[in-house]
Amino acid sequence: MILDILALTLIALGAAFFVAGTIGLLRFPDTLCRLHALTKADGLGMGLTCLGVTLLAGSAGEIARILLIWFFVAASSAICGHLIARHVRRATDTEER
């Protein structure tokens, strides 16, 4: 029961971070700020959700897969953030020149 409540709290917190991420995406002034808001938010939101679902998971196989998913999302989110930032920086560089 306590485990359930803990899981629920974690998941709800994760959802809150998603909401925050969206708000950041909508409200922040330029691309890099938005990127900042987004990667923080979906990194944390995803992490918390994963943690919560792990607590609810039934078997070791499921836990392993959830962790794998978390790892994959985190890695791809990081690399994508990097690539987009690079893209944006280069784009602004060419404009300034």
């Binding site: 709800a12 998603f18 991420g21 897969r65 987009i84 280069r90």
Partner: protein, 86 residues
């Protein structure tokens, strides 16, 4: 318990639908791609929750593919956008 989880699901869905505005407004492709990234991650989160709610562990595989696909599309976007500038 399941009601609370369902409500969380609805909250996440609503939040990413808000992100749609960013895609429609742009202005630059990078921002649109960022919003798409958010959609991808949030969908994975929703799938994780759904896999518990619907008692279907197989959804974890779907989530895995979602994660993978988001990465591939993004790389595709970045590569093509880089080429375009040359």
């Amino acid at each position: 318990m399941s009601t609370a989880l369902s409500i969380t699901l609805i909250v996440i869905l609503l939040s990413i639908l808000g992100g749609l505005i960013r895609i429609l407004r742009g202005p630059s492709p990078a921002e649109r791609m960022l919003a798409a990234q958010l959609f991808g991650t949030a969908s994975v989160a929703m799938l994780l929750i759904l896999s518990h709610l619907m008692a279907m562990p197989a959804l974890l595989d779907v989530a895995l593919v979602f994660a993978l696909l988001a990465a591939v599309t993004l790389v595709c976007f970045v590569v093509l956008a880089e080429e375009e500038r040359r």
